[in-house]
């Protein structure tokens, strides 16, 4: 009864409210002034412009290419100077105001179709879509007025009209733009009682899960696919309420960057298939780390829950991966918990592995190592090794009297002397300044998708030309296939090829040499031919170094920097082989009585031949320095604990050296890094590129004959290149469904 009485008392109040807000049947907003913005704006006293320094959104800095092009606009009364050509939305960002948006993405073309970014501009009759409107001098932009608020609320209401209310079962929940913005700008109730539309889900392959009913048609994925990934698979079909994103005919999205549509989708329409229903984002611990699946060293965030890596996301690094990562980087993490080695093991006389203690395993290995002659000891670093473990391996073998240390993939007698001879000298971001690319024996799309994305970006932005020498392969930009082998190189070097005039007319030519050529016997002759072309085409000038080597795996650059410069020819006489995660090295020539020690985290190819196994930590479990193909050293950070009895690689080598009686003089990570500082101090300058100043011209001439065999393919299967990716179930699904055969 008390309730009824209260209602009776409140009725006049409700009635008065209704009459003032001119809503007859239902309320849709809690703030009455939004229903009559014009009146409210007229009634409110003109706000005094508050001029206090504001910081741009995300700490962004603006560069003025030409100071005369600066214009001044006013955002909520605050004056900002911006370069001509910026949009209203960008001007607001410079003024420190984040405009809500769905379709706008700074790295994609402007669509202007979600209308969420509407703002009021003085003297404009209607609110304007700020993402598509260029800022004009003296423009007075108002982002916080009743008109702008009402516009956002209205857009939100239309978007939610057909959006399912399934946030509790949606994987985007907690990191959803629509969820966040409806909380911030939306109305607190809806007016629609009709049925919501439903859309058939599309099959985009094993990586991207689609729930197309959730789609708000922002077309970010369509623009990403056609602009960045370079596949014309996705498109918009239908009109009006029948509008949907799809592939028209059923087709998988066969791009090596397809996983990025998960990140750019503002709602839960495109989510990660392997991550579906696995975890909520607020349960995850993020660890900022480095990718090791290729030589690019993409910056990633490893999201883990407890001891398990749940997913991998990109981290912004304009110099390396911008904000994208390849599908291999994003989805290989399930390999981290399969096929793991967790105990030291010794193969018994039946050929079976038996778990033993570290003490026994180390004692046996140390004993065997002392029974062989020093130069019969060979150490091979694997493609996922960090700099710390490689210097420990090298020091250990040197102290045992052997010089046979190398890293797989670096080929016969690698050229480690001059850093410029094995690095991507113009830097990944610097490739954007090139106007001509000559790609020699490299398939950048599978070897380094992020470098390929950079080349594609350059080609799209500046119509840079691309010439390619190598076996037929897939490119997602215009290119000219000018040859398949060293013969074409020789023709260009001797000035007989039509490409010569092209390279001479280019302003900043870039030559990209694939590290797959390191495996050839005539690699020095190829390098000499390329250097001749570089000299002839003025590729190497004081202001531009366009002679680049694109490495294949994460350990290569650091291995060469640290002087792991022996060659695989020493395997033939080896009696003791120390495989430190080396699975892809060819052990065919190894004598049958040789003792093989495999130290690694995965039971992969190397284990089949091993006599003793030392379990070590994977990149997600240790602190390590990795140097990427442009010579930039970066650190991984442990995200999850190590598995079983496994230890960091360098610690195992340190322990073994003590048991073997040649104790290494360091026992902490700092001490190992101090040791690295006496070999390659550039590895200590993390996230810096130490540009080599001396060029290949210092190299003595090698007399070697070019073989005419055409260049081969370096990476067979993009999805499976190392021990972790080979253990990954998702990667095996990808290679069976997505690889083009």
């Amino acid at each position: 009864m008390g309730f009824l009485r209260a209602l009776h008392r409140a009725r006049p109040l409700i009635r008065s409210n209704l009459s003032t807000s001119r809503v007859t049947c239902r309320w849709i907003s809690s703030t009455p002034d939004r229903h009559n913005p014009e009146a409210a704006a007229a009634a409110a006293p003109a706000p005094t412009p508050e001029v206090r320094p504001r910081t741009p959104v995300g700490g962004a800095r603006i560069e003025f290419a030409n100071p005369e092009d600066a214009i001044e606009v006013f955002v909520d009364g605050y004056p900002v100077k911006i370069p001509k050509g910026m949009t209203v939305l960008q001007a607001c960002e410079v003024a420190g105001i984040d405009i809500p948006r769905f379709c706008y993405h700074s790295r994609l073309s402007i669509a202007g179709n979600c209308r969420m970014c509407l703002v009021e501009v003085e003297k404009s009759p209607k609110p304007v879509a700020s993402c598509a409107m260029p800022a004009l001098p003296g423009m007075k932009i108002k982002t916080n007025t009743p008109v702008a608020k009402k516009a956002r609320e209205g857009v939100m209401e239309f978007l939610l009209m057909n959006h399912p209310l399934d946030c509790p079962i949606c994987d985007q929940g907690g990191e959803c733009d629509l969820q966040d913005q409806s909380m911030a700008f939306g109305s607190d109730r809806g007016r629609f009682t009709e049925m919501k539309r439903s859309v058939v889900d599309k099959n985009l392959g094993p990586l991207v899960k689609t729930v197309m009913t959730r789609c708000i048609q922002c077309t970010r994925c369509v623009r990403f696919a056609s602009e960045v990934a370079g596949v014309q698979d996705l498109g918009m079909l239908g009109r009006g309420s029948g509008e949907e994103i799809g592939t028209y005919v059923e087709k998988l999205m066969t791009s090596e960057l397809s996983g990025n549509v998960i990140d750019i989708c503002p709602v839960g329409a495109l989510t990660s298939k392997p991550f579906a229903f696995k975890a909520r984002n607020w349960e995850l611990k993020g660890t900022e780390s480095i990718d090791v699946t290729d030589a690019v060293g993409s910056n990633i965030r490893i999201d883990s829950r407890g001891a398990e890596v749940m997913r991998i996301l990109p981290r912004l690094n304009e110099e390396i991966n911008e904000e994208w990562i390849s599908d291999k980087t994003r989805f290989f993490y399930d390999g981290l918990k399969r096929q793991r080695l967790n105990d030291p093991m010794i193969r018994d006389h039946n050929g079976r592995f038996k778990p033993v203690t570290w003490r026994d395993a180390l004692a046996i290995v140390a004993e065997v190592a002392h029974q062989v002659k020093p130069d019969e000891i060979v150490g091979i670093a694997g493609q996922l090794s960090d700099a710390e473990s490689m210097i420990a391996l090298k020091d250990f073998l040197n102290r045992m009297g052997s010089n046979n240390v190398f890293c797989e993939g670096n080929g016969l007698s690698p050229q480690a002397d001059l850093r410029s001879s094995f690095l991507l000298n113009s830097n990944i971001a610097g490739l954007e300044n090139a106007d001509l690319f000559l790609i020699v024996g490299s398939q950048p799309r599978v070897e380094a998708p992020m470098v390929n994305a950079r080349i594609r970006k350059t080609v799209r932005a500046t119509q840079a030309k691309v010439a390619y020498i190598g076996p037929p392969t897939d490119f997602n930009y215009d290119h000219e296939h000018i040859g398949t082998g060293p013969k074409t190189l020789l023709d260009i070097a001797e000035g007989r090829h039509p490409f010569c005039s092209v390279i001479l007319s280019a302003k900043n030519p870039a030559i990209i040499v694939g590290a797959g050529l390191f495996g050839r016997k005539d690699k020095d002759a190829i390098a000499a031919a390329i250097e001749t072309i570089a000299k002839f085409g003025r590729v190497n000038r004081p202001d531009w170094n366009g002679l680049n080597v694109l490495l294949l795996n994460a350990a290569q650059a650091a291995a060469l920097d640290l002087g792991l410069a022996s060659g695989p020819e020493c395997i033939r006489s080896a009696k003791f082989v120390y495989l430190m995660g080396a699975d892809d090295v060819n052990l065919d020539g190894l004598p049958t009585d040789a003792f093989v020690l495999y130290q690694g985290h995965h039971g992969d190819k190397g284990v089949y031949r091993a006599n003793v196994i030392f379990p070590s930590a994977a990149f997600s479990e240790k602190e390590g320095t990795y140097e990427n193909t442009e010579g930039c050293a970066q650190w991984t950070v442990p995200a999850v604990p190590t598995v079983g009895e496994s230890r960091d690689d360098w610690k195992i080598i340190r322990a073994l050296s003590e048991v073997a009686g040649v104790c290494l003089p360091y026992d902490s990570l700092e001490a190992v890094r101090a040791r690295i500082g006496t070999v390659a101090p550039n590895l200590l300058n993390v996230e810096e590129r130490e540009a080599p100043t001396i060029s290949g011209e210092l190299k003595p001439e090698f007399r070697q004959n070019l073989s005419m065999a055409p260049f081969g393919v370096a990476v067979d299967n993009f999805y499976m290149t190392d021990s972790i990716t080979r253990a990954s179930k998702i990667m095996s699904q990808c290679s069976s469904q997505l690889s083009k055969k």
Partner: protein, 96 residues
């Protein structure tokens, strides 16, 4: 200069560390520019690692057999003195 041809007999690895720009590293840079080609031609199998890092004081490291290493600071040395230091490092390996 005969010792130059026998570098790889006693020395397993040579490392020049210096800065790309600093004046302290200038003689080391010049020495490498003038002598690298000669040294490498005479000792094609010997790794002569040239590691340029900003802010590093110039130093020359030699690694001998069994992982023994010695080094010389090159700061303040002139080019002939660097040559002398290298010769001493090479000869030190021959004796030990």
């Amino acid at each position: 200069m005969a010792w130059r041809g026998h570098l790889s007999r006693s020395v397993k690895e040579l490392r020049f560390l210096y800065c790309q720009t600093s004046p302290a590293s200038l003689p080391a840079r010049e020495f490498v520019h003038r002598n690298y080609k000669d040294l490498k031609t005479l000792n094609p199998k010997l790794p002569i690692l040239i590691r340029e890092t900003s802010g590093v004081e110039p130093q020359l490291w030699a690694r001998y057999d069994m992982g023994v290493e010695r080094y010389v600071r090159l700061e303040g040395l002139t080019e002939p003195e660097i040559n002398k230091a290298l010769e001493e490092l090479v000869k030190a390996g021959g004796i030990s």
